[in-house]
Amino acid sequence: MKRYSAFALAREAFRNHQGWERAWRDAQPKKHYDAIIVGAGGHGLASAYYLGKNHGIRNVAIIEKGWLGGGNTGRNTTIIRSNYLQDPSAAIYEKSRSLYETLSQDLNYNIMYSPRGVMMLAQTEHEVRGYRRTAHANALQGVDTTFISPKKVKELVPIIELKGPRYPVLGALWQERAGTARHDAVAWGYARACSDMGMDVIQKCEVTGIQREGGRVTGVSTTKGDIGCNKLGIVVAGHSGHLAEMAGFRLPIESVALQALVSEPIKPCMDVVVMANTVHGYMSQSDKGEMVIGGGADGYNNYTQRGSFHHIEETVRALCETFPMISRLKMLRQWGGIVDMTGDRSPILSKTPVENVFINCGWGTGGFKAIPGSGWGFAELMAKGHSPLTEAFGLERFREGRFVDESVAAGVAH
């Protein structure tokens, strides 16, 4: 693989950009691999990357039914933060955030990580108390967050209206080192690095069945033929239940649509990410100038990748009160992603009832921020059978009642 650099850019500029090579090979499946990862989204690709980089397992295929990063990796609002309440969550999300900081250098691919800061508005007294508690918990976990006053909020976000009659801003949880990154680039960068290690990234290859022998999986049937494997990792988000059924076990997951939308591009007006969890709305400005707005999730099972209209109305109505200047913006695009929600709103990174099958799913509404950390932990789990990062996120926690309960405890937008 030719490295990207300022020198490479200059060299190509002098020869009409004829020398750029494919970022990753258009691979076709071999007969057998040491490990197969199903799903070439961010989490699947990151898992494969760290299998190779940290554990030396490079005879790996990543198979994808659509195209690379075409699911939720390309549909999220690109927010990266780690201000969670529970210790296991803070650990994996903080690992992830810290990996994001140097990911461009690691992958030799510019993922445009922008540590612009993430602010979670406290708009009720309960949120004020909740976020103060989170800030204290984060201090103990080594996650750098503070609770800031409305005055400081206004300094950081001049376009905000603090005294909205219905949703006043009473303070905010502020994580200065959090931010955003270019979501597609994360998938592309990992794919390029995986391909460079000799892994096969196989697109348009749908898994149609899972072959079992005894209590083990021996391979998968796909639209491109049968492929054998020693270990299987299922990393398919909203479609996890479908794959798990093929492998012969059930999951505590329900899939719903989560929506986002973007406005027409405007001049730079807000250089931080603002989340307002009371009203299920969050907003940041993209490099192109569009206001990127994340909304609420539908309450019912749904695979439509579209979402309900009234959620957009609720989100935008509430955000217009907090940001009066956006009331005249036209919205350009709206879309939905299928998110896999677990009972405790925490992910599942786990062994399964089938001996050599591992599953990484349940990231729900907040998977993008977790991509590097999730891949790091899941690769260790697949290679060694255990990982300190994923320990608390096993499937057995539902039976044992050891939830990583973020749904009621922390500032999670859902």
Binding site: R250, P252, T304, F309
Partner: protein
Amino acid sequence: MLILECPYCGVKADETELHPGGEAHLTRFGPGSSDDAFESYLFMRANPKGVHFERWRHAHGCGKWFHAARCTVTLEVFGTYSAQTTEPPSDIIEKIAARRPGWAKESQA
């Protein structure tokens, strides 16, 4: 926009008038049951990509719970029916079979 007809008051209500209540026809397990059964009742869900039987409450109407059969991919509604039953009525099953040849109701684990 999803529109369901409340089988009790006959109102065709859009989803803002209703509250979703998740998978229908779950068998309730409590103290004395096996860990497997209890875990399955509390957390395990069919989550199908296709025909789904689910609970809804006519929250801003008569306030009653009812059941609906709906496709999670197309949002097509096959019908709604009373919640006073442990399995979908045969006319609903027939309607689904007519629209989705080859479909078979999963047995509940």
